[in-house]
């Protein structure tokens, strides 16, 4: 069969695909995307066109209720022993709709800050990005992680307000005001990874909100730059496996899941993507340097402080979107 995989860059390295194809006889077609586009695309196709997708675990329940684009996972076809049990259970809980499980964890990571410690040693939390001394030297995205990160840094708990639209809106209003106030300091809102990497690497920006992997990548190039878990806590995400509602090659999809969760394969994925997987025992195969970078970014208390995204209720994203638009348009 042909496995049409809708995934993120780096999650399906060519080397892994070659091994998979050799072992199972399936062929793999990869389409790269991100959370929003994955869902938009599946919505447009009515959950067709792909056999396996990998949205984050917080983006499964809501869209499923709204658009019905996934199909339940048959756990009997999955070798659950390959997964880190706690992660598997958490994901299952977060992706259950009407008693059916829709997602399995694959890769996890965090987002926080990338800081050039030589030039901006004082950046410890999201709100520090608004420091006037960094005028024209900081960058972040205008996306929901920024809203949530700032909310935490401002001492609020947005996740707790997920179910209370009014309270959440209240939080967003404050964050929005902060972001608008902060706007003059920002050099540019980055849109893609390339932009971010170029900004930090060239020294045009000295601090930014970003994913941990980006920071580690830059760290290879310039030891001054590294990922910093913010004081108010890094935001933790888990990218999952889901079956699109109209997928045709479920067998190949399960085969792929079982294949990439093998520790040695998962380690290859980690090397390509830069993030760790939910595969049990993959750490042993992982690159030493990456581990070292991970440990320097995440002291023990920082790991405990990671705030994992809960599932996003359906209507929240609209409110967030409006707030973000207003920030962008503000002078």
């Amino acid at each position: 069969d042909t496995l049409r995989l809708l995934t993120w860059g780096g999650y399906a390295p060519d080397a892994v695909i070659d091994l998979f194809e050799a072992e199972t006889g399936h062929t793999v077609e990869v389409t790269l995307s991100n959370n929003e586009e994955m869902i938009a695309k599946l919505r447009a196709t009515g959950g067709g066109g792909f056999d396996l997708a990998q949205p984050s675990q917080d983006r499964i329940a809501g869209p499923q209720q709204e658009f019905g684009i996934y199909k339940p996972i048959d756990l009997s076809k999955v070798d659950t022993s390959l997964f880190i049990a706690s992660m598997l259970e958490a994901t299952k809980a977060n992706t259950t709709v009407d008693g059916e499980i829709y997602g399995l964890p694959n890769i996890w990571g965090t987002s926080g800050l990338i800081v050039n410690s030589a030039q901006a040693p004082d950046v410890k939390d999201y709100t520090d990005l608004c420091d006037e001394s960094l005028m024209g030297k900081v960058s972040y995205r205008l996306k929901r992680p920024t809203l949530i990160g700032f909310a935490f840094a401002m001492g609020m708990d947005p996740f707790a307000a997920y179910d209370d639209e009014a309270a959440y809106k209240d939080i967003l209003d404050k964050v929005e005001a902060k972001l608008i106030e902060c706007k003059p300091v920002v050099k540019a809102y980055w849109g893609g990874g390339d932009e971010l990497l170029n900004l930090m690497r060239s020294g045009e920006a000295v601090a930014s909100m970003a994913w941990d992997t980006g920071g580690w990548k830059l760290n290879n190039d310039n030891p001054d730059i590294n990922f910093v878990a913010p004081a108010s806590g890094a935001l933790g995400w888990v990218d999952t496996f889901v079956l699109p509602a109209q997928g045709r090659a479920d067998d190949a999809a399960y085969a792929w899941i079982n294949f990439v969760m093998k520790p040695e394969i998962a380690a290859m994925v980690t090397e390509a993507a830069g993030n760790f997987t939910a595969s049990l025992g993959a750490d042993e195969f992982a690159d030493e340097k990456l581990k070292a970078q991970y440990q320097s970014s995440f002291p023990a208390e920082a790991i405990d402080n990671i705030r994992w995204y809960p599932p996003v209720p359906a209507n929240l994203e609209r409110i967030e979107g409006e707030a973000l638009d207003r920030v962008q348009a503000a002078k």
Binding site: Y189, G191, E204
Partner: protein, 287 residues
């Protein structure tokens, strides 16, 4: 006679299929989508809420106006830059160099807009080529940021649209008989007066068609504002894109799409009326 009718219908069929299936029906459908609103998961009700949102939310209106004004500005700048070039190609260059110059105008279109914009990013960024060059010349003592602002975006828009202005302008200017210009001088005209009374009126269809195309391209552009624009340069297409892709709100996105289509048609129609041209004539001559 009947074979003539048969021929007519055979020729009409592809046109009707094309326009009907790919332009008209989709737009009708989009109109329908834009006229409903979500009341609960997978439940929609007919309403005008989406249009109301467009009109009542200052952000949307403001973004739209900004986009339109910037597009008009880009069109005007493109026209001003392109006119002397087209004139040079059509009237001053002769023979081989004329053809060569014309082809050189096409060169940027050998690569996609993405690559062109990418090229500008390399040039304009703070640590980019131009900034470096200026420092090397001693004209600047520290890196200069030229990216992420409206000027950069304008540059990108103008650059990307240039061809669509130069081609119709050159074509219409070429059709102006040299003798008519000479007659203008012969009767006592000076450069500016000949330009104002003879050259520009003659080139009007080309100017209008170039302006329409450039305006529409700028208005509908997504890449350039996204890649070159600054932190407050929200473009209306970005708004549409995000409604569809990021916010999963097709209803509002469709309404936005319609507003864009409607308003742009209005502007085009107004321009045509103002200049006394027709779409048929300008477009027929323009290509």
């Amino acid at each position: 006679m009947s074979s003539k009718r048969l021929g007519f219908f055979l020729l009409l069929a592809p046109l009707v299929l094309w326009l009907g299936l790919l332009i008209i029906l989709p737009h009708i459908d989009m109109a329908i989508v834009s006229l409903r609103t979500r009341v609960a998961p997978r439940e929609y009700a007919p309403s005008l809420d989406n249009y109301a949102a467009f009109v009542t939310e200052p952000l949307y209106l403001f973004t739209f106006l900004r986009t339109a004004v910037m597009s008009i500005l880009a069109t005007v700048i493109t026209l001003i830059i392109a006119f002397p070039i087209s004139y040079y190609i059509a009237k001053i260059a002769k023979g081989r160099s004329q053809a060569a110059l014309f082809l050189m105008c096409l060169v940027p279109f050998w690569v996609s807009e993405l690559v062109r914009t990418f090229g500008w990013i390399i040039l304009l960024r703070e640590t980019g080529v131009i900034s470096g060059f200026l420092q090397w010349l001693g004209l600047a003592d520290q890196p200069i940021e030229m990216l992420y602002n409206d000027a950069a975006m304008m540059l990108g828009l103008v650059y990307t649209s240039m061809l669509f202005m130069v081609v119709p302008l050159t074509t219409t200017l070429e059709s102006l008989d040299d003798a008519v210009i000479e007659a203008g001088y012969d009767l006592g005209g000076t450069g500016p007066s000949v330009l104002r009374e003879i050259v520009i009126p003659h080139a009007m269809p080309g100017i209008v068609s170039g302006c329409i195309v450039v305006f529409m391209l700028s208005l509908g552009n997504y890449l350039t504002p996204t890649m070159l624009g600054g932190k407050d340069s929200l473009w209306f297409t970005q708004l549409i894109y995000s409604q569809f892709i990021v916010r999963f709100n097709w209803e509002l996105g469709a309404a936005f799409g319609f507003c864009l289509l409607f308003a742009s048609s209005l502007i085009v129609w107004g321009t045509l009326r103002l200049t006394g041209q027709t779409l048929e004539r300008t477009m027929g001559e323009g290509s």
